[in-house]
Subunit: 225 residues, 2 copies
Amino acid sequence: MDDSPADLIIDLNPLPDEIDDRLRAQLTFIAEADRLKTILRASGLAAVERRENDAEHSWHLALMVLLLAEYANEPIDVGHAMKLVIIHDMVEIYAGDSPVFDPAAVVGQVEREVAAAERLFPLLPEDQAREIRALWDEFEAAETPEARFCKGIDRLEPMLLNWLNRGGTWRMPGATESKIRGREAGVVAASTTLGKATDAIVRNGIANGWIRPDPAPGSDSDPDA
Amino acid sequence: MDDSPADLIIDLNPLPDEIDDRLRAQLTFIAEADRLKTILRASGLAAVERRENDAEHSWHLALMVLLLAEYANEPIDVGHAMKLVIIHDMVEIYAGDSPVFDPAAVVGQVEREVAAAERLFPLLPEDQAREIRALWDEFEAAETPEARFCKGIDRLEPMLLNWLNRGGTWRMPGATESKIRGREAGVVAASTTLGKATDAIVRNGIANGWIRPDPAPGSDSDPDA
Ligand SMILES: [Ca+2]
């Protein structure tokens, strides 16, 4: 869990009485959403030297979905896919980011995120809480064409940032070629074309020494040893 | 124009040869988009004390469109509206933000943004450059139901942040009640219900002294004198 105060953002200022309960609940959620801008990811930006936050990342995914939909392995509804990526990381408002190459960070991630969903989405009116929760569940399950494509784009974006940064989080202790290839598999499942481009980028990263080869099994630097 | 180097972000790292021209153009544009995360707006966040950037703002608008579409004065296609807000500020990568209450900043804004559009969108393959430019033109013209609604949401988001910040950019020298009411008109055109809520928030801001009444015409503090 993060160390943000338990109070809601909207408690900074009580909403005027004229606003009815339904819109009041929606504005409460929209104000709480401001917190996503404070959740830092492990990846750095390409444009300047600082870490990316979840709101920026979610915007970048929506743009990529719009521009790269033509490469999806299965036909997708672009508008629906954009909804999935806009919502996909909102639970991190309370659960925090879990950097994929940090074995300690991912322990208990699912439980933390489900608890966060049960705290966050019910701020909305009941029908909308169900609708938005369903979008998050759909993304997580990756069983629809849109969710599979979005999962792949969610893998591709940090790989592109790492590669532009000549390493980025690929230099983290837990990141080895096979772990990075595991991330690449999500891109391949979304799109053969984007998977091939990702493979070219990963091979380029290996050739440049930005990606470490796997340690010999059982060696001191084997993270699974 | 901003003072960023003329080079493209993608020039940080040449894309591997295996990537064909079409995808190369798309990835060039997607890398350049990283710059939107560095364009600071006048508005501050509610969650922490710093200014919002355009990528965060665009994500927040997409979320608001998704959650508040039921209040649109005319039926809208939510997926299409989300595309409009994801794209709407991208020209600011080169044109910079033009704070609405700063009379000097808005001089030449249209020309700067059109020049930026002519530099940015042609990074994409030709068909997609036309498609994305058309989304930006549609948003700017505000002649479709989706564009009118998105323009209203683009007005509402900073008003909500200002109000949560107990003033925010409403305290800027150029911001007076009538200028702020002019922004409110964009929300009313998008949605009667959201317009009423905005009116309640503005009246609350006036009552709390966060919004200045208009100066007497011709007085020293009349910005139009
Ligand atoms: Ca703008």
